[in-house]
Amino acid sequence: MLLKPLEMALERALGAGASYADARSLEQADEGLTVRNGRVEQARSGSSYGLGVRVLVDGQWGFAAGSAVSEAEACRLAGLAVEIARASGAARKREVSLAPAPATVDTWESPCRIDPWSVPTARKVDLLREACKAAQAGGKDVRVATAYMRAIREVKTFASTEGAHIVQTSTITSAGVRAVAVGAGEMQVRSYPGTFDGNVRQAGYEFVEEMDLAASSRRTGEEAQALLSAEQCPSGTMTVILGTNQLALQIHESCGHPTELDRVYGTEASFAGTSFLPTEKLASYRYGSDLVNLYADSRIPGGLGTFGYDDEGTPACHSYLVKDGMFVGYLMSRETAHDLGTVSNGAMRASGWDRMPIIRMTNICLEPGSDTLQSLIAGTDDGVFMDGIKSWSIDDRRLNFQFGSEIGYRIRNGELAEMVKNPTYTGITPQFWGSCDGIAGPEEWVLWGVPNCGKGEPLQIMRVGHGTSPARFRNVKVGVGRW
């Protein structure tokens, strides 16, 4: 994308009365392959291209976006954004102010060793068919085995009336396999490596090769088959050890979302919800046990929440959200950072050219501890190990949650025992994190990509990252509901 249409849009916005404007174009190519029970269910190639213009007029926001990119269209969008911002003034209570940000001129590119488009599609199809076959061989009741792969390349150009000019190129690769076993009114699912698109990384095809998809698929099918005849997860209060895929979701829902400062300030109240972490609690509220350190880091190589600059041009950074169990920080935009009396830590992101940026997670991670999964299990007399995201729900302030995992194992007297199906657990966020008494070390720390975080109206589906090691939680209510 040439900068010219963006510059024209900014000039037009200023001329029409904007005090600030930014323009962001996005060019995206993607290729997706899905093989189901050995047959290609979908082979798809996508392309999109568009421009969004955001303006401040009399302290009010306006945004317009379109896919027909030309200098004339860029100017039309800028004029429309100004008209929309003026209309916003009809219900004005305050004027938006922005915390300062550097006017950076830079380029950034995510790591990519093997260009996914350089790998023949037929070779990818063969790998997926092999993975399907292996998963189906996992059991006679595996009715559906699906293997999938996707590559996305984005080139994003950002310019602002403050002088920022930033071009960022990102390559995103994902792959995985899912086995569904069905029998006698029961259905069980296992996924590899994880539930959401397998796993997703800002990387090239080397990420797929590292997964060893075909070799891992048989076990995925075997576990789905075994779950059909497994005992139902018991109900009661006991110790829970979460694997990294499940814990990534727990971090996402119970730490990532409530630390979004726009939720705290109420601007998601009617849709995504608010937060139990108002600004009065900053630096004085115990979120979890002393072991719990949670941070946002948009610089982790390969993370789905990694970038050079966010969609306001704020540089990527690391910042703590929870330190030694205390709540210490938020995810911020320039507007909310100003209102808090600080500067942004770069969490403004838009899901596409057609969306206004809002505060989103970057890579929200749990710092590793000093245990191992083995030592966590050895220190548990009565509990359940759960992993594989299956079901999730949490209240609008992010307190009462209930999650379900694909697979569970009972823990008795310090050892893993029988497999259990439909494991669920529920709790209240600060009580749950307060009960954390063990976190495995850096050797078991896994970076997960979550490609489907929904927030905002119109809905924005965002890619975010979560890194964690397995962790243990005491006195958790498991096995919710009637089965």
């Binding site: 999109s48 945004f63 209309a87 009617s270 529920t426």
Partner: protein
Amino acid sequence: MVGKDRALSVCEAAISACGADAAEAVLMLETDSLTRFANSEIHQNTTVDSAELLVRAVLGTREGWASANQITGDAVREAAARAVQMARVQPENPEAPGLADPAEYEEAEGYDEQTHDFTPAQRAQAVSRIIRQADAHELNASGSLRTRAMEVAVANSRGVRAWARGTDASLITVVMTGFESDAGSGYAEAASRRVGDLDFEALGATAVRKCLAARHPGDVEPGEYVVVMEPSAVATALQMLAYMGMNGISFIEGRSYASGRLGTQITSEMVTIADDWHDPDTSPLPFDFEGVPRQRVTLIDRGIASGMIYDRTAAARANAQSTGHAVPGGGMPGGYPQHLAMSAGDSSIEEMVAGTERGIYITRFNYANPVHPVKTIFTGMTKDGTFLIEDGKIGRPLRNLRFTDSILGGLFASITAISRDTGLLPTGNGMSIYRVPAVRARLQITGSTV
């Protein structure tokens, strides 16, 4: 919006450019305008014009898909070439159903000029009518007003030529006393294909009234309760049911509530659920995204599993006919219902409450998700107006409650009353609105927020 001739000519150009054994093109155009308000002021105000061209190229039994969001000649040709390339690199697929045959479509007019032309200033005025009511009580209003105009064209090399346009408008509002744990909140929502049908004053009044009544909520013990659920809550349950099992391929593979149970009683005989695009108040669309005429399908008839929806892929596997429920781009093989309606009953919300000795009144559900699709178990929270019902009257407000229950085996199986009046509720999807009543049933409450 480009009109029927231009939209179909873009599709025809894509089909021609494929030079494949067969080809299909779908063009979707949308202008999506949304005014979002929070803390009783507008904080996001957007208009987005978008286009999506989906091309399916068929070589023998191999199918390749490509998409583009530009409709210039070069972009169309380039998308066609990519679709052919994606078809070329895969093995033959004997299960591929091929493309639809030409068909006659029923007339439908889902387009409303006023909705299409609704300006940012008009949206701001409408929103201000809600904010003013909240201001009068020193309450905090948030929500969104959305208007959309959409155009869909479907064509294929076998002669299918389908085109429709539509509009929809929806408003949701949450009015709150604050964000703390004992705050009160109230909710109202409505949808129509005509923005003129939305009564902003009444919606604001409903949310304010409910918010004032919901201040300082208390607790209730977990357990099974009689519940009176407003249409918003029923719509969420219906949406979950659709997601968990109203899909032809899930049905064939034993993953749907209806698998192996057609013709059997699966829930209360008071429950009839159909997918019917003919409702003139929703957003009618007479064909699906394969160009197949959309049929009315009764999925549950007086409690008996009576039907299933299919796209062409599912229909071929089930040795059945497509019911015209394909989604764009083969995104959800098996199909999805866009116009669900639950049949009305003969009661009213007031009568349901009056007939309840002890129970819970639920305005809506929040963050509901499936727990076990075959058993139709779902979980979620109540929100924005949960009250205890005592001695036939709405009593003290309750904190948001967690429920975990089976939709068919628990909630819908225990229905004892359904309202005469129904509400039109937005689903968030284009040209898709549900019509649902209020119900009285039983629901398993498994927890509460704090």
